[in-house]
Amino acid sequence: MSTVWLCVLVVGAATVTIKASGPVLAAGRELPGSTARVVDLLAPAVLAALVATQAFAGDEELVLDERAAGLVAAGVAILLRAPILVVVLVAALTAAGLRAVS
């Protein structure tokens, strides 16, 4: 088997397993109270980490580029209670505009 297909099949199988293990084994079970409070904090923790890495991560380094400017513009739009479509557009247009002039 080629290296490419080996990667495609192993990564595919691993990802299917990773995503399905919890839902298949533990479906329909309510979480106990203390665990539920922990799970409630998973969303803010993961989302903040995704914001941080997707805006500031380079190749194993922190970088400050047009994505950061897009994020600041998105933050302003969020404070002004703009709908998500506008927030996303403002970020993309800011980054694209800065790249076009630089």
């Binding site: 309510e30 993961v46 970020a91 980054a95």
Partner: protein
């Protein structure tokens, strides 16, 4: 809490679809450039359905890396889905096969959109994830067929769309009410991710950041009240 519908998930993810399709296409282009054949690229988007891991595999292979390095990088990047899927597991309904299939639609965006206080809404997850799946795979197909003729999504600023979406989804979670723990968890999560980014392989920062949710075990007021009685020497010193 009112239960969401597939349509709610559909509509919530709609603003992000141009960016998702464009990145699916750029995955297709990069895969071909890295020597991945058309069928392998299409199969990968259909089965793995996780952008960052797929980009990692083709970039490792394109740079002449081994299969083990590519697979290792992809599994690290997808490791965050272990706690995320376990957190959402209680919301999935139906038999094992249906749960297995629906769980494949769990990606960062669909997971975040379906997050509710005290649980997850699988209809929203499936609606949003299903549309993302279609967009990602259609984009990949377009990318492997069109090749280099496509514009780099970064030129259009589409790479800035994803952190903006995650920030927009984060804002209402940390804004609400008297409980400061969601905000603390967010600050801690971002801090962990930023500190680890320069010193660990991609994927590890987000996995490590999930530890911030352990704050949920703290119950500040009651803990303080119970331990308050007789003066403790350490506290007196500090």
């Amino acid at each position: 809490m009112t239960e969401g519908t597939y349509r709610d998930g559909f509509r919530a993810i709609l603003p992000l679809m141009p960016a998702v399709a464009a990145f699916g296409a750029s995955f297709g282009v990069l895969a071909r450039a890295a020597g991945v054949d058309v069928l392998a690229a299409v199969v990968m988007s259909a089965t793995t359905f996780a952008g960052s891991a797929q980009f990692a595999v083709v970039s490792v292979l394109g740079a002449g890396g081994t299969a083990a390095a590519a697979i290792g990088a992809a599994i690290l990047l997808n490791g965050r889905y272990v706690p995320m899927a376990v957190a959402a597991s209680g919301a999935f309904r139906g038999g094992p096969l249906r749960r297995l299939i629906e769980a494949q639609l769990l990606v960062d965006e669909s997971w975040a959109l379906s997050s509710r206080e005290g649980g997850f809404d699988t209809k929203v997850l499936v609606g949003a994830g299903g549309l993302l799946y279609v967009g990602w795979n259609a984009g990949t197909a377009a990318g492997v067929l069109a090749g280099d003729g496509l514009t780099d999504p970064a030129t259009l600023g589409l790479d800035a769309a994803f952190p903006a979406l995650f920030l927009a989804l984060l804002a209402p979670l940390v804004r609400s009410g008297s409980d400061r723990r969601p905000l603390t968890a967010a600050v801690l999560g971002a801090g962990i991710a930023l500190v680890l980014t320069p010193v660990s392989p991609a994927g590890v920062p987000v996995i490590a950041a999930t530890a911030a949710c352990l704050l949920g075990f703290t119950r500040p007021r009651r803990a303080a009240a119970r331990r308050a009685p007789a003066g403790r020497p350490q506290e007196a010193r500090s």
